[in-house]
Symmetry: C2
Subunit: 335 residues, 2 copies
Amino acid sequence: MSSMKDVAKIAGVSSSTVSRVLNDSMFVTETKKKRVKEAIAIVNYKPNLIAQSLRLKTTKNIGLIFPEISDPSFQMVVKYIEESASDRGLNLIVFSTHDDYKREAHAIDMFLRQKINGIIFSRVSDESQVRNITETSDTPVVVIDRVLTDEKIPNVVLNNYRAGEIAAKHLIDCGCRKIACLTGSPKIGLVSERFRGFRDTLQLNRIPFLNNLHFEGEFTYDTGVVAIEHFLKNSFDFDGVWGQNDQIAVGAISTLLRYKIRVPEDVSVIGMDNVSFASKFFPSITTIAQPYKQMCEKAFQFIDRISSGEIITHYQAVFEPFLIVRESTTSVRTE
Amino acid sequence: MSSMKDVAKIAGVSSSTVSRVLNDSMFVTETKKKRVKEAIAIVNYKPNLIAQSLRLKTTKNIGLIFPEISDPSFQMVVKYIEESASDRGLNLIVFSTHDDYKREAHAIDMFLRQKINGIIFSRVSDESQVRNITETSDTPVVVIDRVLTDEKIPNVVLNNYRAGEIAAKHLIDCGCRKIACLTGSPKIGLVSERFRGFRDTLQLNRIPFLNNLHFEGEFTYDTGVVAIEHFLKNSFDFDGVWGQNDQIAVGAISTLLRYKIRVPEDVSVIGMDNVSFASKFFPSITTIAQPYKQMCEKAFQFIDRISSGEIITHYQAVFEPFLIVRESTTSVRTE
DNA sequence: TTGAAAGCGCTAACAG
DNA sequence: CTGTTAGCGCTTTCAA
């Protein structure tokens, strides 16, 4: 690979001049400019990004840390983060932690040592290392999808309480009266947020919430399966189900269908996240969507602002969830 | 962030010594070694990877280029590539091209300028830039999932002909006699490979293949939908369907069910790739799996070997697909 | 065994 | 307007 020196030699100028032409940082005589450009073409010169980074103490890379790429919700995040990065001409380095703090710490370490341009975290746990970063380095950090108790870190988050409200309201509108809620791990803060909104809305509408029908699991397909089998085995009666994410909902629907219980005729099921298969399942899945695209873009805007030296005073950006009605719930039911 | 100089000063040694301790590249007196280690701890020193890369002309990064992260098959590839990278302590930079050659060229450009450690391509097109890389740079390149006509580039690929054979054989075993094939874009080489294996096997078993039931589309859900609606509208009779990937199969199954045609009782459907939702759909989807994990690992092994100076003489690594029987096909049918 | 010095490829004062 | 020089943080001869 040719370097600036080669170009300079061919063009008969100094390498500073080459640099100036490339970044047009100063006025360079037209003739020299032309000679330099020709030389660049001749040797097919491309500036070395590593050298540039070392000199400028900044890179064209941003890093994304998230728990698990197999998870469809995170796949959405990765997709949109990739797009926003690409729009800015930034490279995206991804790290999947598999919920292992060691791996998370390692990822952070690598990023910092690479002088990365910014770090985006998706769903860190409370024991996460994020705080340490913001204290010891000046790398911009944004947390997405999960609020931290420490409010000093810019974060973009969903109004999860509102999601619970929407789910409950829709199920009630469908005529459901015995409503189940299948949640993710109670260790994740947003799980209880969503649940609170859900239960509060039921109570507001004078629908009793039965603790029997509150199943705490993980954000997985298996949780949906296990929950429904548990309900059926114990003859718990229910006519509506909220799976706190679409995977739980799919597990629930599959299991219901397997037991010859019709969806939505016998039981309405609503999911959350609007992952890609939600519209492709049969029956297609009513769900509560997160504006992932906007949220990811917002995360980048935070990084842009911090990078340009702006002091963030308003750390939190809250986004509103919205309902997408499909086949797995029915509103034709008469009350 | 502290540098080697800081450590050296505190330890009262030269920065060369610090470097030697870090890489234990030479013998250093125990006392000095200890002093250096203490100093490192005091200032929480972490070597700057950028500087290291500039000096050593190599990085800890590898790049992955693929068409579309929304595609479940590529999500599998990304997942396993990430794991293999992580096992080697390498960072993964991802680039989604959206089938745009401009973007592909840009990605390559960025990677080369970053002195990346290796590039993995997934499903490149013939107009791709891959060849140019191998000619002008010494960056290791591996192609995965798609054969190139130019055999000089290491590549890992599936025996797609065999996949077609397996699909046809299984459908025949299920008692199907009027068998449809829904394919991806005929512009992609492996599509016709798969199709040839499929048709040859039918013929070998004296099952007629009707051109009516050969539907060429894209590797998408919509293709499955459109194909089945097309068949039904024209009253083409069929009792078995191979969707050349799981998305096509899901589109087909959903549409059949929507038209009250039972799967597998009336029509057996088999997909391909064993993407994550294949086992979660209802009915769960019989599919032809690719050993993605092994294929991705193999791609890395190619890079490892090239990096360590080995000359590759055997460019192609072929992997065998295998059948996973689930609910969407039935073998209980009597002939 | 260790330090001094050179240099990876680039940019940014600083002179001229 | 342009060339010289220094230096980003590291590794590696080369001497000592």
